[in-house]
Structure formats: C-alpha cells, structure tokens
Point group: C2
Chain length 471, copies 2
C-alpha cells in the first residue's frame, strides 16, 4: 500500500495539438512493479481527503501549490550528451565546420586520451573521469528542466556509452542510449572513428547487450541504433545497422537534411540514391522506430516517403537557428501526417531545456509564416508547442499512450510546475515567471512557456519515482 501515491491538484496537459486541458482532480499511481502506472483518475474531487475517499485507497497525498500544476514530463527526442560542455560554443560555424571544429574534439575527449582537446591541457588526460562529470551533469541538468525522457547520442566509445546508460538508469531518467556509429574515413577524423564495419557492429552489439542487462524490459532504458548520419558511415555499415535494428526490433536515430551543404555532400556520396531519405530507406533505416533529427529541407517526395514508412521527426529549432541551417516547416510535416517531437540537439542547440525548444519552435513557425507571406496557419501556438514536447515526443520515441498525459494506464513521468505570485508591492518569489493574479490559466501557461526555466520545476518523477526536487 505504501507503494501507492495520490497526486492532487491542478493538472494541465495537451491531449491534442493546440488544446490545453486544465483540470483539477486526483490521480492514483501504483509504483509496486517499479513502473509507476496511473491506476485511477478522478476529476471531481474537492481536496486531499476527498481524493482519498473517492479513489478508495489510503495512500499518501502529494499536492501542488495553488500557484502551480502537474504537467507531463518533457521528452527530448534528440540530444548529444557528450556535447553538453559545449552549449553556447559555436561561433559563426555551420554544420560541417562546426562538427570538425567543436564537436569531434570534445566527443573524442570522453573516450580517447589522444583527443586534440587534450593537446593544450596541462593535466594528464582522463577521458572516463571527464565523461562521468559531463554525463552526471547533463542528466541532472535536463531532469531539472523537466525532461523525463531523453534520446541520447553518446560517443563512439563503448565504455563511455555504457557509462551514460548506467548513470541515466541509476539517476532515474528514462533514456535511449545510442553508441554513435561513424566509420567512413573521408568524413571522420582518424582520432574519432570506428575502424571498420565489423568494429562498428561489434561495438554496437556490446552496448546493446549492456543496456539489455540493465533493463531487460527496455521500458526505462534501451539502446538505440545510431548511425551518426549518412555521410559518416560506410554503406555496408548502414545496411548492417538496418539489419541489426530489425532483428532486435530496436529504435534507430540519425540526422537528415539539416543543412544545404550536408545535403549536397550526401548527393555526392550517394549518387545512386534519389534522395537523402532514400539513402536511409535503401539501407533499412527508415522504419516506424526511426527518429530523424532536423528534416529542415525535405522535398515533398521525401516527406511522402517518411510518412509512408511511418518514421518520426525530431524538430530542433534552437540548433537550426544557431547554426543557420534554415527553417523547418513543422506545420507542413504535421499536415502530411508525420509524427513530430522536439529536440534540444545539445550542443548544436545551445540550451538543455525542452521548454526553450517549445519557445523556439513557436518562434521559428512564425518565421515560416512570415516567409510564406503572412500565413498564420504556419504559426504554432503555445499549446501546439507543448503538445510537441510531450504527446508528440511520446509518438516519436514509440511511447504513445504511455507517456505525455494523465490518463489511466499511462506512466507517472511528470513535472510539478510552480509560478511566482507578485504581491501588491511588486514583490515576488524569484523565478522567471511573474503572475499578477488577474491572468487566466491559459495565459499563465503562456507566461510559463515564454519566461519559465528550471526554477519553475519544483519536482520531477519518472515512473513514479521522485528523481529531482528543487531545494
């Protein structure tokens, strides 16, 4: 019985795009099997005691503050854990020079003592210690911003990748962990590359096994097959990764059509294929379990192909803006019927916060609308953005119906949000969000989206377990 909890207060969620559902009530969560499933909900209770009596269970009651609400945990569908120390460091680079200037040196330093990042360093290289500090940090940081599920890229190193899996599992974030596959000499530096298709596959299998040992159910943690992107892999590697994913029914993640020069490069490297999406399709990598990051410049034919394969898209607006990649037409992707979620794309994206991704998604959609001659249909509303961050993300990571809402049978992956109340003298508890008192709840949510940060995230649960609490 002590493994049950009742949550009482205000619950806000986005069951459909552009729909903000605001309810007061109580939710009963069962943590007995470690899954944290919502067993019962009741939207007509008046208080904690009433909740206990109406749900018919004697369990501890956890209530939100009057100024706060429960909201589904955010799902980051695309984040590079080892790049976290580089957030904000990208100068004026664009994708391809950004990779060689900033990214490969940092990623390699988490597994390779000969990484160029150690050249100027006075202390002896200790890649695994660095990885530990970085991964501990990125997991607690994203949790503190309300990210309950993350689809991570690690590095090419098995040990480092497994460390990320271990830490995420221990700290309690729901995670998909990808060992990065890159073995094509023309595009990958000598200091940061798998040596051959055989090595790529063997190393990937080692990390798959490690993740399976940690969580045999695969619900809280699983490996995700991760060819970095078409240009960085040998064609044979792409094929074998496709086969491996099929055999074990694994998720796949990669990048697509982020940048115009990248698309040109793919055309040059894969002249036999009709399109970038076609390359992945040919190698068995375009599946309902595939997360394609970016997809800024897909042709109509590629969109149709992605839709036909039921592959998913991770929209990473902050990254696309920071690296000058272009404007992703999210409304068009949704209209085609493609599932879209949000990604921070740390550190192409400069922020570890999915709330920031919601903001940037809203902003970029207004740019798309402006460029389409003032077409406001392109605009994403606050509720659209929050839907992408929760329900959309759940579809993208293949957890539809289990994550993103407060319905019976769903998992308790939830963040508790608090806002700041301004008093008559203009004083307030410091957060980014100031509520004057006359705003309705729809507008309070808008204020949270546009000025909120980790200070508004009071508590975070994953699978019913409290994994973050703000001191």
């Amino acid at each position: 019985m002590t493994q049950k909890r009742i949550y009482f207060g205000r619950f806000i969620s986005t069951p459909r795009p552009d729909e903000l559902l605001i309810r007061t009530g109580a939710v009963l969560v069962d943590r007995r099997d470690g899954r944290g499933v919502i067993e019962k909900v009741n939207w007509s209770v008046n208080g904690p005691n009433d909740a206990v009596s109406k749900l018919g269970v004697e369990a501890p009651v956890i209530t939100t503050k009057e100024t706060g609400f429960f909201f589904p945990g955010f799902i980051d569908t695309h984040i590079h854990a080892p790049q976290y120390p580089n957030v904000g460091i990208f100068g004026k680079s664009t994708l391809l020079d950004w990779l060689t200037t900033y990214t490969f040196p940092l990623e390699s330093s988490l597994g390779n003592p000969k990484s160029p990042m150690y050249h100027d360093s006075s202390s002896p290289p200790d890649p695994l210690a660095r990885a530990k500090a970085v991964y501990n940090r990125v997991i607690s940081k994203t949790l503190s911003h309300g990210t309950t599920t993350a689809s991570y890229y690690a590095t090419i190193h098995v040990e480092t990748t497994n460390l990320l899996a271990e830490l995420a599992f221990k700290i309690g974030q729901r995670a998909y962990i990808g060992r990065v596959c890159m073995d094509r000499p023309e595009t990958c530096p000598d200091y940061y590359r798998d040596e051959s298709t055989e090595q790529t596959i063997a190393n990937t299998k080692a990390s798959i096994e490690f993740c399976k040992d940690l969580d045999p159910t695969g619900e809280r943690l699983a490996h995700i097959i991760t060819p970095r992107f078409a240009p960085s892999c040998l064609p044979e590697t792409l094929s074998q990764l496709g086969t491996l994913a099929k055999k074990d029914d694994l998720r796949i993640q990669t990048h697509i059509s982020e940048n115009l020069n990248e698309i040109k490069l793919v055309k040059e490297m894969y002249p036999e294929h009709e399109s970038y999406a076609g390359v992945y399709d040919h190698h068995g990598l375009l599946t309902p379990r595939t997360i394609l990051a970016h997809a800024v410049h897909l042709s109509k034919e590629e969109m149709a192909l992605v839709k036909a394969r039921n592959a998913k898209i991770s929209h990473c607006p902050a990254s696309n803006s920071a690296l000058g990649s272009g404007f992703c037409p999210v409304r068009e992707l949704l209209d085609v019927g493609i599932d879209v979620g949000l990604g921070t794309d740390v550190s192409g994206g400069y922020s570890p916060s999915i709330l920031d991704a919601v903001r940037n998604a809203c902003i970029v959609s207004r740019h798309v609308g402006y460029l389409a001659g003032g077409n406001s249909r392109c605009n994403l509303s606050v509720a659209d953005g929050l839907w992408l961050a929760t329900m959309g993300g759940a579809k993208v990571v293949g957890m539809e119906g289990r994550l993103g809402g407060f319905e019976e049978g769903m998992l308790w992956d939830v963040q508790e949000i608090v806002l700041g109340d301004v008093d008559e003298f203009g004083d307030v508890n410091e957060t980014g969000v100031d509520i004057f008192g006359w705003e309705d709840w729809e507008n309070r949510v808008a204020k949270w989206v546009w000025n909120g940060d980790d200070r508004n995230v009071r508590r975070v649960w994953v699978g019913g377990r409290l994994v973050h609490e703000r001191k």
Copy 2:
C-alpha cells in the same frame, strides 16, 4: 574618502563590435557627487592590496569571484513598462491586432478605471495601485537582469507616468521616461486616447516638468518625448512634439517600420510623404536624439535619411520574431553607419532580459544570413551582440563615452557576473551556465550569453550605487 570604492578583479567589455576585451585590474570610483565616475584605472595590479597601493587611495575594495567578472550594465533602448504583466501573452497576433487585443486594455488599466481590463474583475478598479505593483516589479526585474539604463514608454496618464519616473529614480535605475502620446481617433480607442493636440502637449509638458524636478541634471532621469507611432498621432501633434523636443533639447522615441501592414497604414494615412521615415523627418522628429524602435523594413532611401539625421535605431529581435514582423538587417544598418542598440520591447518581446535580446539578435542575424544565401557576414558574434547591448546602447541613448565601458571618466553602471563551476562529480551551484574548467574566457562569455539569466547577475550598480544584490 568613504565615498570612494575600488573594484578589483576581472573586467570584460566590448570597446568595438566583435571585440571582447578581457582584463584584470582595478578601477577607482568616486561617488562623492552622486554620479559615480571612474576616476582611475590600473590594469597591472596583482591583488586587492596592490590595487590600493597602485591607485594611491585608501578605499574599500570590492572584488569579483574567481569564476566571475565585471561587465558594463545593459542598456535597454526600448521597453514598455506598463506592458510587463503581458510578457508571453500574445497568442498568434501580429502588431496591429496585438495592440488592440492585448496592449491598449492593459496600458489603459494603469490609469483609467473604465479600462476594458476591469470589465470582468470582481474587485473595484484601482489603477494607481496596479501601476505601482507593475512598475516596482518591472524596475527590479530588469535591474536583476543587469539593465542599468532603460528607455521606458509609460502610458498616456500623467500621474502614472510620473509614478514610473519617481520609482525608477528612487530604486536607482537610470531611466528615460516617456509619457505616451496618442490622440488620433481612427487608430486609438476612446478609452485610451489624449483628447486633442492641446491636451497631448499639456500632459507631456506636465511630465517633462516632473522629471526635471526629480533630476535637474537629466543624467540619471529625464523625460523622453514619445509619440507612440505615426499612425496614432494627429499630424499637428507630431509637429508640436518635434518643436517641444527641439526647444528643450529632449530625447525622442517612437516606432518605425516594424510590420508590413503598419507600413501600409502609414502610407494610407500620410500619402503626402515619401516614406515612413519621411513622416518623422517632416515633423522634426528625426534627430540625433531620436530612438527609432524596430526599423525592420526600412528602404535604402530611409536608411540614408536616418543616417543623414544621425537618428538611432533600437533593434528588438525577440519582439520581431514573436509578432512575426520580419528580420531586421542589423549588419546592413551598421554598415550604413547607423547607431544601433538593443531593446527588449516588453511585451511585444516576451523577455525583460537584454541578455535574451543579445541571444535573439545573434539568432536573427543568422536567419538574415541564411536568407541571403549563406552570407556569414550578416552573422552577429557574441561580442557583436554584447557591444550592441552596451556601447551600441550608449550611443542610442546619447550617453556615448559615459556608459558601456571601464575607461576613466565613464560612469560606474556595472553588473557583476558569476558563472557556475562544475566539479569532478558533475555538481555545481545552480545557474544556467555550467563551466567545466577547460573553457577559455572567450568561451565562458559565450556560455554566459547563450544560457545565462538573472542568477548570474550577483550585483548591479548604477552611478556607483549598489541597486541590486542577489541573495
């Protein structure tokens, strides 16, 4: 002697665009006449004691943390104080419907008990109490984000405008206070409009006098003539405001070319003038003391005219993105030789933070570059953005040489920044910025710009007076 202070530690500033100047040293500030002028600087001292001996003055020494630095206070060249409660509340609106839906009701509620904002309210209207809470809040909020100087729009109400002046002066933010002039019946609602040119001018004069009484020097506080924008004023009003500004050598602020429909409206309302900038020029409002907010869509001819008159531009990137107004070509404006600063444009802009404006200026410049076919010259660097926020802003508000740097003779309007150091376990004092230790100071500043917030602002001084300290 106790009116002198020595500041010791790391000083970072941007003397020229794209140049980050990082120095260690000491600065002596004289507060005797209440101005807080930098009397002496020394960039070759080794510690607090050495600072005292090399500067030759026995004065208290204030030092930065090892993980921090002094940085010039930010200058917000365009912010609507009464709109602060609406940050984040704009839905899918664009400029003209945003004004009538969100903005006029809120602004009027700070002076008019019959404002539509009170229609649904159960408590009796108390406009001045509301104004007091809002203005206290916006001043302390912007100070907490490092804004030491702000050019404010208030409302049309004299009493409310004067209250803003009084509070800014008392709390200690350097401020230009504009009573908003709007008296054209076609575009201004009955509940929020000056009745005639005579009333507009009389009310403006009342507020000018009030500000002069508060600060006869005009250095810490001054009135700024504020015709809302060309469509909201009678032509006769524009002319008389131009005359008034000239007579008293006052600053002027208004809006220009923010939105395509607005530009069309100006063309319809002022068919006799060649351009939007031409309207202001004709009425004597395009002067070296004029701040033009937005300027997203200026023609080449208008840019040349603005340059010829030496009028200034306040770039408000967050607002332009949020309201889908377009992409301001900042590099082009700078290349023409126009002085540009940054504005939050609260609440068209959703954030009270100029650091956020720096980020958005960098992002929008990348959009401009992308749309110009990948022209990286358009890109603003982090140092460019910080320059706009400090030195650029100083030019825009007519305080060049007095604000924006650490040279002798300048005023001590300064923010002390602290960053978070990640330890070997990945733990850190919570701010938005995580420093792992291997980053050089240029990259640390980049990390601050991209992920910093008010938590990184430890102390803020205006004219040598400590006006904000983070608990």
